[in-house]
Each structure stands twice: as structure tokens, then as C-alpha cells.
């Protein structure tokens, strides 16, 4: 057991995981159309090399990584490439080129797909990184950072601890929880592979205390491995955020942006990423599917699906029994950091961990009152920022002061806006400030180059 440190801030959120916590992971099946965006990961978009009309099989690569920070893309099932055209990407909120596949229902796997190894001793560190790159692995926690790049930090960096993030601190979501309960051994295999790929000698599995069965499963799975340990975190949001996790479990603080966890000798990955890594080694299957929770009071039968990347939300919601009551909001992700969707005709991305449907009564907008200066946002900010001032400066156009109060450090977790009694849109204002500051910096850099 790992000794935890005290973290600052955070809020206690209603759990609401009971809606889907008892639903075993089920196969979502094959929808009528799969939309694979070329840009659904951090970094440069992938470059497609299939053409319209090509036949593809499950696990076949359809796009290559472009540049050092990028990821490959694979067909999740067999079918024909119907089109390569711009489609609306919900998280980037703009039109992005996508490979559209029409499945043929036969679900044939591509030839040559075979297990690479069943034992970690048979794969070298370089081979693991290569597998991660070839399989198009990205972080499945949400940010979708290419795993191969994460495993190869700049020369001279020493990684001493690898954290496996099974905290899932967002309410409603149970994808990671069920994955840990049902596939603990495979996850641990993948985790050890990631550790070998990064060269980390020690690994800690981090789980929140509202998932007792998952904790037991993981504890049993790491039993034989002395270099692994389990840390049980008290459920507070956003303890599962990478920066907070490192602070609470290891007592270290990541430097502010552009600082990364590798600057303090740590790498953090989601349990889903570890599972995908294990699949890539044990079966040879690249990243083509993932576990997604479809939940909320607005769906009739909340469930945890193993869904193909690119499945439309409408298909998943229908599989979950359709709407219950009048839907008010459909959120891709969790309720605190997820993106609200305009409609259900958007596909699942590599980084989508959940689909949340809230009823109309739950999502009615509340009137915004003046700032009371109560300081509840300051007390809840996990990064010890002052959201009250950043938001006020942003709303009134004072970009210099917003930058001075470290708007750029904000991780947009939403704890401040959750605590605000006046219902002020703090995260929205801070995001606005961040966007304008980034724009200003880019313009200044461009001018300097000239």
C-alpha cells in the first residue's frame, strides 16, 4: 500500500456510477458506418494511404503517423472505404478529414495479424515502443497522446515511476472500473509492458476508493510482481487528473506548462491504454475498439460497451435502450470535462470514454449572478490558482493580468465552476483567456521570426 499525501482543493462530487456499475462489458456490434477521423489524437493528423473503394479488413492500417508526434489509424472491421471527406469532429469542433468505412458485416481480420509474444521477456524495450507506434496506440484517458512518443522521452530523462491511472474520478463513468474488474490480469500485463517500454523500475496502480471490486481485482493481479503496488485514493474530483495524481501519490509537482510529468521522472497512463498495449502484444490487434460507458438518467438501459472506434453515438444510444424521458444534453466524456454534443450523428473517437445523456430537467440553464467574491472557487482549485480573478480579467479583456494569474496553467477541470454559487461560467471565461493568450503568443512568435 502506498502512503498518500494531501492534495489541495478538489470537490466532492455525486458519484452516480450506480447507473452503470453493474453492467458487464458487452460487445456493441457493428454499425452501418464507421467514421475514422485523421485527427483524433494530440499531434499531427495521420496520413491516409487507402483510396475510396478499397476493401479493408479488421486491423488493417489505413493511415500512417505523420511526423514524430502522431499516430497510425486502423480499420476496426472489414468493409469498403466509402469516402475520405471532411466530417464534423466534435472535440475539435471543426470539420476534419475522415476515412469513412462501410462495414460488410463479415468482420474478417487482416492477414498477418498474429500474437507477438505471450511473455514480456520475449519482447525488448525497443520492440514494445515499435508495437505501440504500429498499433496506433494513444492515451485512452481522454487526451489521446501517442503512446509511442510518451514512452520515448527526450534523452537524459530518467523515469523512476509509472502510474497506472484507474482513478476515473468523473461521475457517471464506469468504463475503467469495469475493465479493471473483468480484465485485471491483462491490464497488468499491458502495464508491465508499458513500464518496460519506458524503462521505469517501479509501477503504481491508482484507483479511487469508490470501486472496491476493481481494487480487489487489481490487487490480486499485481500479486506476483514486486515492482508493482496499489494506491487507493479517496474519491475527490479531480484526483484522477494526471497532475493531481502525481501530487497525491508521489508528493511531486509537475512544472507549469510546458512542463510535463516526465520532468519529475513520472509517466501516467490510463488503464485502457495498458489494456490496448496488452492486446497489441498478446493478439497483435491494433487500437480499433475501446470500452465506453453509455449512461445518464436520459438513457433507458445504461451500459458499458466494447465499441469500435468510429461508431456513431446514435447507434450506441439505441443499443442502450434509447432515450428515457426528454434528452436535454448529450455529453461526450464525463459531466465535468466532457463536450456537449449538438446531435447524435457524431462518431466515437479514440479518446471517448463515455457518452452521458442528461434529461431536460437536469440540464436547464441557471441564471448567472454577480460574483460574490466568496472564494469557493479558490478553495476548490486543485492547481492552487485564483479562478475568480482569471475569469474576471478574461471577461473584461485584461489579457495581461489573466496571463499573470496563470490562466495558461488551468487544466479546465471544472471544480471552480461546480463550486460557484452564482453559477458563473468560470471555465468558459478561462478557456477564452487561454485561447486569446495562445493566439497572441503565436502572433508574437511569427513576428519575431520575420
Amino acid at each position: 500500500m502506498v502512503n498518500l499525501r494531501r492534495g489541495f482543493g478538489g470537490v466532492k462530487l455525486p458519484d452516480r456510477k450506480g447507473l452503470s456499475a453493474h453492467a458487464k462489458i458487452e460487445d456493441a456490434g457493428i454499425p452501418a458506418e464507421l467514421v475514422l477521423f485523421l485527427s483524433q489524437h494530440t499531434g499531427a493528423p495521420s496520413k491516409p494511404f487507402v483510396k475510396v473503394g478499397d476493401a479493408v479488413k479488421r486491423g488493417q492500417k489505413v493511415a500512417d503517423a505523420q511526423g514524430p508526434v502522431s499516430a497510425a489509424l486502423h480499420a476496426p472491421t472489414s468493409g469498403i472505404v466509402k469516402a475520405i471527406e471532411p466530417r464534423y469532429q466534435p472535440v475539435l469542433a471543426c470539420m476534419v478529414d475522415a476515412v469513412v468505412i462501410e462495414p460488410d458485416g463479415k468482420n474478417e481480420t487482416v492477414e498477418g495479424l498474429a500474437p507477438v509474444a505471450t511473455n514480456l521477456h520475449a519482447v525488448s524495450r525497443q520492440k514494445i515502443v515499435e508495437i505501440a507506434r504500429e498499433a496506433g496506440l494513444v492515451g485512452l484517458g481522454g487526451a489521446a497522446f501517442p503512446t509511442a512518443v510518451k514512452l520515448t522521452p527526450p534523452p537524459g530523462t530518467v523515469i523512476d515511476t509509472y502510474l497506472l491511472n484507474g482513478a476515473e474520478c468523473e461521475p457517471y463513468l464506469t468504463a475503467d472500473q469495469k475493465l479493471m474488474e473483468e480484465e485485471a490480469t491483462t491490464i497488468v500485463f499491458g502495464f508491465r509492458a508499458l513500464m518496460k517500454g519506458a524503462g521505469a523500475p517501479k509501477g503504481i496502480v491508482c484507483v479511487e476508493d469508490n470501486k472496491p471490486e476493481a481494487i480487489d481485482a487489481m490487487k490480486k493481479a499485481i500479486g506476483p510482481f514486486k515492482e508493482l503496488d496499489v494506491a487507493v485514493l479517496p474519491s475527490k474530483y479531480p484526483r484522477g487528473g494526471e497532475k493531481n495524481l502525481i501530487e497525491v501519490v508521489l508528493g511531486r509537482e509537475v512544472p507549469p506548462p510546458p512542463g510535463l510529468p516526465l520532468n519529475v521522472g513520472v509517466i501516467v497512463s490510463n488503464v485502457g491504454t495498458a489494456y490496448a498495449m496488452a492486446q497489441a502484444i498478446l493478439t497483435g490487434l491494433p487500437l480499433v475498439e475501446r470500452v465506453i460507458t453509455v449512461t445518464g438518467e436520459g438513457v433507458a438501459r445504461p451500459a458499458n460497451f466494447k465499441a469500435l472506434i468510429g461508431t456513431p453515438l446514435s447507434y450506441l444510444v439505441e443499443k442502450a435502450g434509447g432515450f428515457s424521458g426528454t434528452p436535454g444534453k448529450v455529453i461526450m466524456g464525463g459531466p465535468m470535462m466532457g463536450t456537449a454534443m449538438r446531435g447524435l450523428d457524431v462518431p466515437v473517437l479514440k479518446g471517448t470514454s463515455g457518452v452521458l445523456v442528461l434529461r431536460k430537467e437536469q440540464s436547464a440553464p441557471e441564471p448567472v449572478l454577480p460574483c460574490l467574491h466568496c472564494g469557493k472557487c479558490v478553495d476548490s482549485c486543485p492547481l492552487r490558482l485564483l479562478p475568480v480573478w482569471i475569469a474576471s480579467y478574461a471577461e473584461n479583456g485584461y489579457l495581461d493580468e489573466a496571463e499573470k494569474f496563470r490562466a495558461v496553467d488551468c487544466c479546465e477541470c471544472g471544480a471552480c465552476a461546480y463550486s460557484c454559487p452564482s453559477r458563473r461560467p468560470l471555465v468558459q471565461s478561462i478557456r477564452l483567456a487561454k485561447a486569446r493568450i495562445a493566439e497572441r503568443r503565436r502572433a508574437a512568435a511569427a513576428k519575431k521570426q520575420k
Binding site: G259, F323, A340, L344, P370, L372, H373, D409
Partner: protein, 330 residues
């Protein structure tokens, strides 16, 4: 699916505390003290409280209508201002005092600057300061004897102490309220009951009243006895006068107190120091009003300098030091 979906920025969950909810909590926490006032000083207390509250709400509504703003009396902040002002007045005060005082508090200290969230000092205390200056006799002589409801023109225990005499009620009498005093400050037990409710509900930060009471206690203990140090009666100093009422219900007004925990602690200590200065070396027997008002004005300064060490600060400082050292070596 023909329904339109709402698209807003994250987070999509909102916390249970609302402005109205917080105000209701404050009103609830003042109910024990109000009931105690009626029990100890008679039904006149209720008249004073009602006059103050009605005047505060009416002034806010009339002013907002006059300047064509939305009428916001529903957020209950005016009710609290009226209630708090009433609790600082003597029970026998003529009714024009709370009526004018509340109107001044709401209009001049709050509405003129823009309404909720824009007052630069505590409105109830601003109203009290105004009536103290305008009708000093009303505030220093309209006392009522506890439980017999007779009008009395004697001095409150605090004034007695000030004049150098020592004939003051016992601690138990002070706690229950068996003495002369204003409506709200006399029954300390009722106030403490309300205050613990506020702290338990997370409405106020305990560090502010702790700093205030601690500073008053320390100051009275060290300097209280004339001619000797460290022999003063800190406990009596804290229980008499408006210290408890001020520490838990007045100084903790969100708008006029700092935004960080440490800042609030310093504000409490500062208010306590000013209160002790006025009580021991000033001409007023009571220094709570001006102690808190003074620190209200200092709050923006506290907020400017009390910036918490942001996450990652440790690295920033060492990186800058390294950069400076590298620059020097170059």
C-alpha cells in the same frame, strides 16, 4: 429525435450551493439570536427587527426600480442586511433609527455601487456607523432590562469596564444574555449555535472568526489591565460587545473579505487589533464596527498580496534561479 440539445461549456454539473441557499443558511443561523432577543428583551425586539428588514427590502426594491434595474430582493441579501443591522441596535431604540439605517445600508453601501457583489464595506455595519454618528444618544441609552422589559438608561457592561469599574455580570450571565446590550450581541450562546451551523454547512471559513477572536483575546489579555501586562481578562473582552456577532456574521461577508484562506485569517487578526485599539485607547467603548469596516477597506490590498503558491511554483523558482546563475556564469 426532434428535440434540440443544449450545448454549453463544461462542467455540466453544478454544485448544491446557490446564492439563495447560502443566504437562507445565514438567515437560519441568526434565528436563535433573534428568538433570544425577543425572549430576553420583549416583543419590542421583534418590532425593531421587522422595521429594519422591511426597510432594507423596500429600499432595495424602490432603488432598483428607480434606476431601471432588475429587482433582486429574491436573493435575500437585503433581508440579511436588515436583520444584522437590527441585531446591533439597543432594544428600546426609536423605530426611525433602524428604518433610516437600513435604507442607508442598502442604498448607499451597496446599490449605488452596482448591487450584489459590489459593496466596498459591510452594508449592515455601514448603516450602523451612520446611525451611530447621526443619533448617538439612541444607540447609547435605549437599553432594556433583561427579562423584565423595563426601559433602563444605565450602561452596558462594556461601558462599565471602560470607566474603570469592575461590577459586571458573571460569565454565565453574559453567555445567556442576562445583561444590558443590543438585540443580537447579548445571548452569546444563541450566536454560537448559529455560528456553528454556518461553519458546519461550509458557508463561512472558520479562519476569519478564529483570527478575529484570537486577536481580541490576545490583545485584551496582554494590555487589558492598566498598569500591568498579561493580566487582562481576554475571555470577558471576547464575550462582551459585538465581537461574537461581528466575528461570525459581519466580518465574514463574502464581498468584503479576502478570497484566500490565509488572507481571511489576516483580515480577522487585523480587525481584532483595530477593535482592541479602539476599546483600550479610543473614546468609544465598542470597537467592533470600526475594526471590521477598516479591514473591509484593506481587503483588496490583502487580496493583491495573498496569492497562493500555484502548483508547480517550486519548479518555477528553482528554474529561474538556475537561469539567473547560468546567466551570471556566462
Amino acid at each position: 429525435m426532434g428535440e434540440k440539445l443544449l450545448v454549453t461549456s463544461s462542467p455540466h454539473l453544478k454544485g448544491p450551493k446557490t446564492v439563495r441557499g447560502l443566504m437562507l443558511d445565514v438567515i437560519l443561523s441568526l434565528v436563535p439570536a433573534s428568538i433570544a432577543a425577543v425572549v430576553i428583551f420583549g416583543p419590542r425586539s421583534l418590532t425593531v427587527i421587522l422595521a429594519s428588514v422591511v426597510s432594507a427590502v423596500a429600499s432595495e426594491a424602490i432603488f432598483e426600480k428607480a434606476v431601471k434595474r432588475d429587482v433582486t430582493v429574491n436573493d435575500l441579501s437585503a433581508v440579511i442586511t436588515g436583520l444584522l443591522l437590527a441585531l446591533t441596535l439597543p432594544p428600546g431604540v426609536r423605530l426611525y433609527v433602524p428604518v433610516v439605517g437600513s435604507a442607508f445600508a442598502v442604498i448607499v453601501a451597496k446599490q449605488i455601487f452596482g448591487g450584489l457583489g459590489t459593496n466596498f464595506v459591510n452594508p449592515a455595519l455601514a448603516g450602523r456607523a451612520f446611525v451611530m454618528a447621526a443619533w448617538p444618544l439612541q444607540l447609547s441609552s435605549k437599553w432594556v432590562a433583561p427579562f423584565t422589559f423595563d426601559a433602563v438608561s444605565g450602561s452596558t457592561p462594556l461601558a462599565v469596564l471602560r470607566s474603570g469599574q469592575t461590577a459586571i455580570p458573571s460569565i454565565s450571565d453574559i453567555l445567556i444574555g442576562n445583561r444590558l446590550g443590543s438585540l443580537g450581541e447579548t445571548c452569546v450562546l444563541a450566536l454560537l449555535l448559529g455560528a456553528s451551523y454556518l461553519i458546519a454547512r461550509g458557508v463561512i471559513d472558520w479562519r476569519l472568526p478564529a483570527g478575529y477572536i484570537g486577536a481580541v483575546f490576545a490583545g485584551a489579555w496582554v494590555f487589558g489591565k492598566s498598569g500591568a501586562y498579561f493580566q487582562g481578562d481576554g475571555l470577558t473582552a471576547v464575550l462582551l460587545g459585538g465581537v461574537i456577532l461581528g466575528a461570525f456574521f459581519m466580518a465574514t461577508d463574502y464581498v468584503t473579505s479576502p478570497v484566500t484562506g490565509k488572507g481571511r485569517l489576516y483580515m480577522g487578526i487585523g480587525a481584532g487589533i483595530v477593535t482592541i485599539l479602539i476599546r483600550l485607547w479610543g473614546t468609544y467603548p465598542e470597537g467592533v464596527t470600526y475594526g471590521i469596516l477598516f479591514m473591509n477597506l484593506v481587503t483588496p490590498l490583502i487580496d493583491r498580496f495573498m496569492v497562493p503558491r500555484y502548483y508547480g511554483y517550486v519548479h518555477d523558482v528553482s528554474l529561474r534561479r538556475k537561469a539567473r546563475a547560468a546567466g551570471r556564469r556566462a
